[in-house]
C-alpha cells in the first residue's frame, strides 16, 4: 500500500515477534527465515500471523501462511494485499 512503507511493516513485525516469542525486534530483518533463522515454531507462527492480520488489516489464509517463510515474504504479502485494506494502522 502506498502509505505503509516496507520499513513500517518491518518495524511492526519486529514488535509482534518480540512480543510473542521474545526475540528482540532488531533481529527481525528481511532476509531472516522464521523457522531456520529465528527458531519460531509452527504454533507461534499462527499467533504471529493473527497479530499481523490485526495490525496490518489483511487476511492471511492458512494456505498462504505456509508460503510465508521469510520476513521479506510477509512484507511482500502485506504490501501486495494492503492496498485497499480498511483499518490499516498508519
Amino acid at each position: 500500500m502506498a502509505d505503509v512503507t516496507e520499513q513500517e511493516i518491518l518495524n511492526g513485525l519486529g514488535e509482534i515477534v518480540e512480543e510473542i516469542v521474545g526475540i528482540p525486534a532488531g533481529e527481525v530483518t528481511p532476509e531472516k527465515n522464521f523457522i531456520d533463522d529465528l527458531d519460531i515454531d509452527s504454533l507461534s507462527m499462527v499467533e504471529i500471523a493473527v497479530a499481523a492480520q490485526d495490525r496490518f488489516g489483511v487476511e492471511i489464509p492458512d494456505d498462504e501462511l505456509r508460503n510465508l517463510k521469510t520476513v521479506k515474504d510477509v512484507i511482500g504479502f502485506v504490501q501486495g494485499l494492503a492496498v485497499d485494506a480498511p483499518g490499516v494502522k498508519k
Binding site: 512480543e19 521474545g22 499467533e47
Partner: protein, 422 residues
C-alpha cells in the same frame, strides 16, 4: 524382594508458594508462623461467599519473561520456576549455568496437577465468545491439559526416561512422589524431577467450592481462616503454588558427591470406595494408606516421630485423620508423635499440596524442627494427639522418619514416608 533394594534420596528442593518465591523464604515463613492468605481484590468479588485465598507471594511475572508466560498456564509457569530451583539446588547444569549432567534416558519427570489449566480454559472460552475461534491461542490445548507441566519440565531438562502426570485431586502430587520413588526403584530412571502444581484461584473455583460449603467464610479475618484442629474451624482456604523435588538413587547421588537432604522411603495408597467427595468417616482408608506406606518403606510404626497431616481445617476431616493415624500406628506410637498441619499457613494447594508438604517434611527432618500449626486458639476437644502449636518443635537426633498424608476427592488416600539421611 531383594534386601538390597535401591534407596531413593532427595537431592534438590524447589518451590514457589503463598509464603515465598523459593524454598528458603517459604521455610523461614513456616518457622515464623506467617500466613500466605490474602484478601482477593477482583471486580465483583463481593458477590462471592469467600473473598480471600492463599495467593502466591511472588507472581510468576516477576521472574519469568512475558513471551514465556503467554504460552504457559499459570500452573505450568510456577511448576517450571520450582523445577529450576530444585534442579539448581541439586547441582545440575542448565543452559549456560555450570553444573553436573545426567543422561537424559535416565532422567524422568512426574509432576501432577489436580485441576490443570483452569485459567487457560476459562479465559480462552471468553476469547472465543468475544472474538471468535481464530483468536483462540494455538497454545490453548497444551496450556489447559493437566499433564502440561510434566511435559514442559521434561522438555526443559531433557528428561527421556518417562514423563508422567498422575491426577487424584488433592492427593495428586503425593502420588507423583510415590510414583517417582517407584521409577527409581524399578530401575527405569536414576533421577526423577517430581512434584505438583496448582493455580486455580478463579471466580469459578471460588463459586464451585463455595457452593459445596467446603471453604472457610471467615472473610473478616483471612489470615485466621485456615485453623486446623481449632474448635471454630469452618473449612479450607484455597491456595496456589508449586513444589518440586529431585529424587535420585542413593548410588547415583553419592557417585556425584551430591548433598542428600533426606530419604524418600516409600508410599502407601488406598481407595475409600465410599463417596466422591466425603471421606470415609471411619478413616479406615486413610489408615490403610499409612500402614501400606510403612510396609513399602520397610519401617515400623515406632520409627515415625512426626506426621505432616492433610489437616485442611474442615470440621470433620481433621479429627477423622487423627483417628486414622492412631488406628494405623497404634495408640502408643500416636501418643508419642507430634502432628502439624502446615495448610494453616500455606492454604490448600489441592494438587500441589502433597508435593509441598512432602518437601516441608523433608526439611522438617533435615532441620529437626517441626513448623507449628497456626490459628489453633481453642483446641477441639476431640483432638487427643500432640499438635505442634506456638513455637516450632525440635525433633530428636538419629534416623527418624515422618509421614505426610494427602487425601483427595474421589476417595484417594496417599501417605508418603520420609527418613532423615544420617
Amino acid at each position: 524382594m531383594s534386601k538390597n533394594r535401591t534407596k531413593v534420596v532427595v537431592t534438590g528442593l524447589g518451590a514457589t508458594t503463598p509464603l515465598g518465591g523459593d524454598v528458603p523464604s517459604t521455610w523461614s515463613a513456616l518457622l515464623a508462623g506467617k500466613s500466605g492468605v490474602r484478601p482477593l481484590d477482583w471486580e465483583g468479588v463481593e458477590e462471592l461467599p469467600v473473598r480471600f485465598a492463599a495467593t502466591l507471594e511472588v507472581d510468576p511475572a516477576e521472574v519469568m519473561p512475558k513471551h514465556k508466560l503467554r504460552r504457559l498456564d499459570r500452573s505450568q509457569s510456577i511448576a517450571l520456576i520450582a523445577a529450576h530451583e530444585a534442579w539448581e539446588h541439586a547441582g545440575y547444569a542448565h543452559g549456560e549455568r555450570p553444573g553436573q549432567t545426567v543422561d537424559g534416558d535416565r532422567l524422568g519427570v512426574v509432576i501432577s496437577s489436580g485441576i490443570g489449566g483452569l485459567h487457560t480454559a476459562l479465559n480462552s472460552y471468553d476469547v472465543y465468545k468475544e472474538k471468535g475461534w481464530s483468536r483462540v491461542s494455538p497454545f490453548t490445548v497444551p496450556m489447559l491439559m493437566p499433564n502440561g507441566s510434566s511435559g514442559h519440565v521434561g522438555i526443559e531438562f531433557g528428561a527421556m526416561a518417562g514423563s508422567h502426570a498422575l491426577v487424584s485431586a488433592c492427593a495428586s502430587s503425593a502420588e507423583a512422589v510415590g510414583y517417582a520413588v517407584d521409577m527409581i526403584r524399578a530401575g527405569r530412571a536414576d533421577v526423577v524431577i517430581t512434584g505438583g502444581t496448582e493455580a486455580c484461584i478463579h471466580p469459578l473455583q471460588m463459586a464451585s467450592f463455595g457452593s459445596m460449603r467446603a471453604m472457610s467464610t471467615r472473610n473478616e479475618e483471612p489470615t485466621r481462616a485456615s485453623r486446623p484442629y481449632d474448635k471454630n474451624r469452618d473449612g479450607f482456604v484455597l491456595g496456589e503454588g508449586a513444589a518440586v523435588m529431585i529424587l535420585e538413587s542413593e548410588e547415583h547421588a553419592l557417585a556425584r558427591g551430591a548433598r542428600i537432604h533426606g530419604i524418600a522411603s516409600g508410599a502407601g495408597y488406598s481407595g475409600d470406595a465410599h463417596d466422591i467427595v466425603q471421606p470415609d468417616p471411619t478413616g479406615s482408608g486413610a489408615a490403610k494408606a499409612m500402614r501400606r506406606a510403612l510396609v513399602d518403606a520397610r519401617l515400623n510404626a515406632e520409627d515415625i516421630v512426626h506426621v505432616n497431616a492433610h489437616g485442611t481445617s474442615t470440621p470433620q476431616g481433621d479429627v477423622a485423620e487423627l483417628a486414622a493415624i492412631k488406628a494405623a500406628l497404634g495408640e502408643d506410637v500416636a501418643a508419642r508423635l507430634c502432628v502439624t498441619a502446615t495448610k494453616s499457613m500455606t492454604g490448600h494447594l489441592l494438587g500441589g499440596a502433597g508435593a509441598l508438604e512432602s518437601l516441608i517434611t523433608v526439611l522438617t527432618l533435615r532441620e529437626g524442627l517441626v513448623p507449628a500449626t497456626t490459628n489453633v486458639d481453642d483446641l477441639d476437644d476431640a483432638v487427643d494427639l500432640d499438635i505442634v502449636r506456638g513455637e516450632p518443635r525440635e525433633l530428636p537426633d538419629g534416623p527418624i522418619a515422618a509421614l505426610n498424608n494427602s487425601f483427595g476427592f474421589g476417595g484417594h488416600n496417599v501417605a508418603v514416608v520420609f527418613q532423615r539421611y544420617v
